[in-house]
Amino acid sequence: MTLSVASNLIEIRNLTVTFPSEAGIVRAVRDVSLDIRAGEVLGIVGESGSGKSVMSLSMIGLLAESATVTGSISYDGVNLLSLGDNAMSKYRGKDIAMVFQDPLSALNPVHTIGRQISEALHIHNDISKEAALARAIELLEIVGIPRPAERAQSYPHEFSGGMRQRVMIALAIANQPKVILADEPTTALDVTVQAQILDVLKTARDMTGAAVVLVTHDLGVVAGLADRVAIMYAGKVVEIGNVDEVYASPAMPYTIGLLRSIPRVDAVGSSRLTSIEGTPPSPVALPPGCAFAPRCPAAAPQCDAEIPVLAAVSPTRLTACVRQQEIQGLQTSGRLFRDGPSHVAAPVSGNAVALEIRNLKKTFPLMKGSVLRRRVGSVFAVDGVDLTLREGRSLALVGESGCGKTTTLLEILNMVAPETGTITVLGRNVSELSKKQRLEMRKDLQIVFQDPFASLDPRLPIGDAIAEPLDNFGMPKSEQDQRVMELLELVGLQRDHASRYPAEFSGGQRQRIAIARALALNPKVLALDEPVSALDVSVRAGVLNLLAELQEKLNLSYLFVSHDLAVVQHVADDIAVMYLGGIVESGPVEEVFARPQHPYTQALLSAVPIPDPVVERVRKRVILQGELPSPANPPSGCRFHTRCQIRASLPAEVAARCVSDRPELDSRHASRVACHAPLN
């Protein structure tokens, strides 16, 4: 059944994990057999609920007590599943180590970092306190923590997210394990920090020679790192094999759809995305046969009849699909998945300006003390931002967390006079609006939020939620219903959904509801705050395609705030890149992506992983050094000079200017850049 190659480190056989729940039995992992070979990097890719995390937790024996586990996991001739907690803890940390997703809560808040690492050493080794601490400091150095001896005395809350994840990796490699399980190790991190952490993970693997199991939802992260990849869906491995092979010629329809539904940052021109219909099944109510059948464009009656087993497609690949033989033919004839619309950009010139921001600044007071609070300084959240959005076009505001993009968006939406600068919406300066005019103006500018689970009131039927703006602007109740129905159909939902509560919808559907609500008042400008980043990979394409359709149909202008450059490449016409409160580069997307002028844009683009192992392996990656400086105390001159990858190679006189003068946005080419030494 499994491809047999020598030196299997861990052999998982017929692993099934179930949990009791109120809705019924959750079948998280179903009859999975898998090998982990010594020294390899195995990527396990799946969406939320696919069972990938449960599988990694069962390897280290940390499943919830309520879990029922059957099958076997053998390591070194021992079935780990048969061990009790005390026996299993001899293996944990020593042979099998783990890096968890959320570095924020994974470390004990009341102990120092040094103490937490030395504890890991003490558990498995008989060493002195001093030796353990010395080794802990050494480990911190290996994972790239500056001034390790000093930082060992710090507490977790004094570290940034990226630094904490480095600490987690140091903990994992402390005892030279044979296997490192990394469960979504970079999901909570920014893209440039992700690149750093993946780099550290590579170092860790080279040092220890351990096998790495990289569990993720991101096909891009796996591509450059993994030797083999396993795709999971609804608790089963549906495809596994050599990474090049799986990416180049996927054989399972789910893998095919998934690979075609994710936008790529290196796509040329306007790409088209495939959307997989429907949503992943609930693990308490799985379809009888192949779990993907209800969403599969190639589904046939036999798919519902039996659960497909993994079968060899080639010597190095297995696929679980009943119609596996026929799939290749369907795929090449283009009959498998239908592509979504391709995005057509509205002309640049001649269009009226929908939204214009000039020199916007926003500072927050930095407060200290808890009883009598006093201001001790300012956080320069937005520090001189210029933006222009033309009607019918999409402008993407891009940057990492803490760069000020969300603050910029909120300042625009507040529609009150900013601290400094001007905000002009549809030709009207918001500082000059009366209270009544401002309310009127809200009709034209609406927002779709990131998290569809938070953006709908769980206690309001969705029909009422969509009608709320209508009601608020005095539309008679009788007309409201008609409009709600129209809107539901517009976003691809059914009329009878109106009386249901948000809890009955999936993430993708909820985001459609949020879009319907935003469109209720016929706005001209739609602000989209990371509209797909909280969604499962396979439903993102559907929402992105819907947004593209709506823009064309309703002549909407989009202000698209995102950290995901691949999505931006797909939907936006123009892009503005933000770093530490300021715009460092702006211009048409094709131009900026093809010829980034600013070193930060270059680094950002190169940090985005591409779901293509061949490209990914040969790509030269710029890995930024250090951490994002605090916006309360921004660097002088060019904000980016402390981390700039090219400054060291600049002539001394230019490099000095980077420290002393803040560069202005300057239009030299098709794009505008704020840099003393632009790249191209």
């Binding site: 944990r92 180590a97 004990n108 004094e158 003390g369």
Partner: protein, 327 residues
């Protein structure tokens, strides 16, 4: 940190002033000290009553503002005035404070320690026999008013004494009035008097703390850092004691402050039922006898106690939690 403390103390003083003002003003409005003398037989002449009221500084004939300012001025110099029984309030205060504190401190320390241990054990053995027994016990205790609990303890003790045929538990007073021994014997006698009132205060604390500690511990049991500790190779028990306990105990410091306020409420019942002459029983008598000065003194005392325990809790949290330490 020093800066922070100074501010806390400042806030503390404002709150005490506010609470004592409220106490004095409310009691002055609600009480009718003249009623203490009216209807006596033979009737007391109006002029004598006025003289007595003036002596206490509570004559309603004077405007409230003036009376309050006099009282506040005296309190600032450390003089709480005169009781209705024409004793110095200060004397009563200095005698009764120690009676009450002995009860409160002992009761709350026993209550919190036993409660925390019980809570931890319950959480670790969730749904086990200990947990269920502890849950039923704390629910029952929390549903029993202090006065009823004290009465039941008293009756139980009397019943036990009768069965033993000897007076093991004393149910009235701090020590036997006719007791002549000293040294060891006196200590034993005092302890025999102390057991029941302390128990009646401690039991409520045990119930309260064990519930909260259990919940705090269960929160920690599901936390990511405990999972990390186990991933390092600690067994589930080791990780619980080395990592879980320290974090789970943090919120208890705040609850300690909160529950001290509850104790101040509980003490009057315990003291009056067991015949202890503490602050609580004084308060009850003072309200019944329209004694504005005594009531105000008790209110100042209780607000200082509540705020002080809050301050101590803050310091304790800061000492235990590095996240709070650095502000």
């Amino acid at each position: 940190m020093l800066n922070y403390l100074v501010k806390r103390v400042l806030n503390f003083l404002i709150m005490v002033v506010l609470a004592s003002t409220l106490g004095y003003v409310l009691s002055s409005l609600a009480f009718d000290p003249r009623a203490n003398y009216q209807g006596a037989n033979p009737p007391i002449p109006e002029s004598t009553i006025n003289a007595k009221l003036d002596n206490l500084g509570v004559n309603p004939a004077r405007p409230l503002v003036g009376r309050y300012l006099d009282w506040a001025g005296n309190v600032l110099t450390g003089d709480f005035g005169v009781t209705v029984g024409e004793q110095r309030v200060n004397e009563e205060l200095s005698r009764r404070i120690w009676v009450s504190l002995r009860l409160l401190v002992l009761g709350s320390v026993i209550g919190s320690l036993v409660g925390v241990v019980l809570g931890v054990v319950s959480a670790v053995r969730q749904y086990g026999a200990t947990d269920r027994a502890a849950s039923v016990l704390s629910f029952s205790l929390l549903s029993t008013p202090v006065f009823l609990l004290a009465i039941l303890l008293k009756f139980g003790a009397i019943d036990l004494n009768n069965r033993l045929g000897t007076t093991f538990f004393f149910t009235i007073g701090e020590y036997s009035a006719d007791f002549t021994g000293n040294g060891w014997d006196l200590l034993v006698n005092r302890l025999q008097h102390l057991i029941l009132p302390t128990l009646s205060i401690a039991l409520g604390g045990i119930a309260f703390y064990s519930r909260y500690q259990r919940n705090a511990m269960l929160d920690v049991l599901g936390s990511d850092f405990l999972r990390t500790a186990r991933a390092k190779g600690l067994s589930s028990r080791q990780s619980l004691f080395r990592h879980g306990l320290r974090v789970a105990i943090l919120p208890m410091a705040t609850f300690f402050a909160y529950s001290f306020g509850l104790l101040v409420t509980g003490a009057p019942f315990t003291e009056s039922i067991f015949g202890w002459n503490g602050m609580g029983s004084w308060f009850i008598v003072a309200v019944q006898s329209n004694d504005i000065n005594s009531v105000s003194a008790v209110i100042v005392f209780s607000s200082v106690l509540v705020l002080l325990s809050g301050l101590l809790a803050d310091i304790a949290v800061a000492a235990l939690d590095p996240r709070v330490r650095l502000r």
